[in-house]
Point group: C2
Chain length 564, copies 2
């Protein structure tokens, strides 16, 4: 059967069945079915993970299923994106954005055949809610003749945005002949993510980042098909978030210039939404709270010397906890949760309340806390921490939110002598031993993987290969795999600010992005990844994201961005 005929049928079906899963149709296409003049045209018919194509598919992260051929289709200078979902501003903006990102050069009309005039973006659902598990699947079809145009089909606008990113990576410019083109047509791509939660955490407390930098950071996440920006907004070092309820809280910021206004916060959330990125705010409590006390001293335990340098005597690190015997601690903590989870603020259901590294030694120095514990019949600092954390968890649940906490909470509630159980709603984020996921999932908790090795990017000795090789599901029983929601790579900002953020996060977070998007089964996985990853870095550099070189030595060959 002639290829063209198959495609005509195929596109007819697709064009008339928006939103109907056409996988069955696609799966009918077998390598041996499709040939022109005796030559096999499609060079991949299996899952992209298990075959090493002779041609490099320069798409990052690797899509779930890819079939492609050998024909080059030229893009008309009059090319346009069209859509059925004309009412969606989000989609309209994404189409405009990608149009501008792709078509940066003046191009000529190609006089030959195989001219692509249009790509239709067909979206089934009008629902633009961004929550855990939102649909990011998409399909791309590019005919080898160009006549029938191309299509991106998706359930949601966010799937369409992921598809546009893939398309961006497929379109090249021939600088000699001045044509935009898509090589290796026809293309059939069917793609959806492996995990629903794929994030990068950024700490804006140790160093401040301007709104513009955060917006660019969010864009870089979307280019990687991440879907979560975990905003570790506050810590002991600074509290840059404006609160209308507690206006003095930003006295704990680095300076009056280094504050996110309410308007800034909304702008960041809105920007992220336009890129299909959930913003999960973290307000770490009761630990790492020194900065709260600059404006509201009564929330901190007594008996440490106030010092802006955060070098108090009680803990070894600068992580003074809230005084959990102080009424104001509850008023402010619960009030902040209420404010930031308000209708016009963080509408993402996940909200992170930290719960890590509570420095009990600070409490031990404070008579007020010790007396309070006696009065309340609380026999250990662990119980005192639980007393507070339960209140914060309950507050979030009452606000309709899902609490996320660092593994310390899971370990605290499970430690010896503690009968209280960690509420089942809590999502546990692991940051030490990834094998702790065996326990958390066994106990029924939804789990996120952020083991410091290799997911903490402040460690300069972690290279991208180590990140890429880390498999977050290792050891978890198959039946409990559904509880592993995904993971996050983390950028703590002690040594990082806008000057080096992008070069520190990338390329290593590229590796996380693919691992969480795509099931990598190839034993020689970094070899499989490297040429695509080098090319993907260029795709980011082209958009002004200064990702660092990924090579462990010098480049292997002249596949620099210049020679692309």
């Amino acid at each position: 059967m002639k290829l063209k005929f198959i495609f005509l049928i195929l596109f007819f079906i697709i064009g008339n069945s928006i939103g109907i899963k056409i996988s069955k149709e696609i799966n009918k296409i077998k390598l041996n079915d499709i040939s022109i003049d005796g030559e096999i045209l499609l060079n991949k018919s299996s899952d992209s993970s298990s075959s090493q194509s002779s041609k490099i598919i320069n798409i990052w992260p690797m899509p779930k299923k890819v079939l492609n051929g050998d024909i080059t289709v030229y893009i008309s200078p009059h090319f346009q994106f069209t859509t059925n979902l004309t009412k969606s501003t989000t989609l309209k903006k994404a189409m405009d954005r990608y149009y501008k990102l792709i078509f940066t050069e003046d191009s000529k009309s190609h006089s030959g055949i195989s001219i692509l005039n249009e790509i239709k973006i067909l979206v089934k659902s009008e629902d633009e809610t961004l929550q855990i598990g939102f649909d990011e699947s998409y399909e791309i079809y590019i005919d080898d003749s160009g006549d029938d145009g191309g299509k991106i089909i998706a359930e949601t606008v966010y799937g369409a945005i992921r598809g546009l990113e893939t398309l961006y990576q497929m379109i090249g410019f021939d600088y000699q002949r001045e044509y935009y083109q898509i090589k290796h047509c026809p293309w059939i791509i069917q793609d959806s993510p492996r995990y629903p939660h794929r994030g990068v955490m950024l700490d804006t407390s140790r160093h401040f980042y301007s709104v513009d930098v955060l917006k660019e950071f969010i864009e870089a996440l979307a280019y990687n098909k991440f879907n979560v920006f975990h905003w570790h907004a506050v810590d002991s070092q600074s509290f840059p978030l404006t609160s209308t309820t507690f206006p003095k809280i930003t006295k704990g910021s680095w300076s009056s210039q280094e504050i996110y206004s309410t308007r800034d916060i909304k702008e960041i959330i809105q920007h992220a939404k336009e890129y299909g990125i959930r913003v999960e705010l973290e307000i770490d409590m009761p630990g790492h709270a020194y900065s709260w006390g600059i404006g509201y001293p009564s929330v901190l335990p007594a008996n440490f010397s106030h010092s802006i340098q955060c070098q108090q005597p009680c803990p070894t690190e600068c992580n003074i906890p809230l005084d959990v015997s102080s009424k104001e601690s509850y008023v402010i903590a619960m009030g902040l949760l209420e404010e930031f989870n308000g209708a016009s603020m963080f509408n993402e259901s996940f909200f992170h309340i930290g719960g890590d590294e509570v420095a009990y030694s600070c409490w031990n120095n404070s008579l007020r806390i010790v007396d309070w514990m006696k009065r309340e019949n609380i026999s250990s600092f662990q119980d005192a921490a639980i007393f507070f954390e339960i209140k914060a968890i309950e507050q979030l649940i009452q606000l309709g939110k899902t609490p996320v906490m660092w593994e310390d909470a899971y370990l605290l509630f499970g430690s010896s002598g503690i009968t209280e159980k960690l509420p089942e709603e809590v999502v546990v984020q692991i940051y030490h031993d990834p094998l702790l996921a065996l326990n958390t999932t066994r106990d029924g908790y939804k789990t996120l993987q952020s083991p410091y090795w290799p997911y903490y990017l402040d460690n300069p000795s972690v290279d991208w290969e180590k990140v890429y090789e880390f498999e977050p599901s290792n050891g978890i029983h198959e039946k409990r795999l559904r509880l592993l929601l995904g993971g996050e790579t983390c950028m703590w900002s002690e040594l990082v600010d806008a000057s080096n953020l992008f070069a520190k996060v990338f390329p290593r977070a590229f590796a996380t992005a693919e691992r969480l998007w795509f099931s990598i089964e190839n034993s020689n996985s970094t070899t499989f990844a490297k040429p695509r990853l080098e090319r993907f870095r260029c795709f980011l550099l082209e958009r002004g994201i200064g990702a660092a070189p990924l090579n462990s030595t010098s480049p292997d060959d002249p596949n620099s961005c210049y020679s692309s």
Copy 2:
């Protein structure tokens, strides 16, 4: 005696004695001499190294002598730089440049007293030759009344450029009141560098840098008062320098886009000259020469598999040396030295010919070399290397240049069984044990310090404190200190390109810059340096140089660039 009167006298003397060293006059000013209404006005009367002022002098690197007071002088919106050396384009450009860099905001007229309308730049010599030891000294005088303006006095235009950089760091903008101002007037600064050779080496072979990036890099060096850009231009991985004599040599570049044309090279040299930076080219030979052989295969030893990935079997690293038995090796090597030392090319007297890490194993695999050695009665590979290196050294000397070589050359000529002496003209650059300088200076060689610990910036575990604490003169006999010309910090580019260059080099190279400029005698030197260094980083960020945060943890206090 009233301060104003002293200054009137002083400025009269200065104004009429351009080029006469006025140190004697300045030294007459003693702390107790100068007071207004009983208050001591000048808060520093000693060398800046030995006193910890209550006020931070935000100048980097620290000038040799600084005296200042407590008066703020406001800068008129009609402020201008003037000079006696009106014919100098270099100076004119520098004045225009700093005017634009300093005055970025609309400012208001101040109605009060102490208004500065002008700074005179008085330069004695018209000689703009850039060679080792060129005069960079300068003096700055800012009256506390503003009436008499200010002065920068220098021997050469390059001293004036160093003075302008210091002035840049003294002028601030009051964002509330919209005035430019100089705080802590009056100012008397007398400054000159500790070492004549203060450089940063950059490797453009492992990764290519565009001309624009190299020009910005040179600017950043000048802001640090470095005076040498050691351009490690070529290596085994790529040969990006165009040669008109050997046009095929750039076949060894990464791609046709990643080449420096003759025009590019001249542009870089000219740009550096305008910033008072000597460009010392390195063409490493006979080691690290694989890239030469892409265009001219006969220069490489036989018996290694040609592979663009540079993973030949003979050495463990990719540093295939030239075949010293091949006539073409001499023709090309000596020809390149002649071409790049031509009148319109590198006019700096120092020229680096590497000489490091010659992989003898590659020669051992080549019958051609072994046969040649027998014919020439050369009994060891060491002697074979010397045979070649002597030719290169003699070629440079004949061209009127000073050869610079890595320590390997010094060690090779001095090794057992070798009677040939390293020519006394060779400057030895140490990159392993800095104490080797005891031997090189004992043997009468001019010496540069670049010990890999802590001067190799590709090592991520070196922090700025380690760089700052390293004293290059340690152990060297006082009588031989004149042979220590200075040092260079080195950026090898295996993992670095334009995306992360500035954040990798700075702030660590800041530390080298001050150590080589200023005699640091303070035992608590990093404490002395840190606040100024933090401020200096802001001075670079303001000019678009993305220096990384210098903190070993998070910032100590809200002294971020925002709050300045």
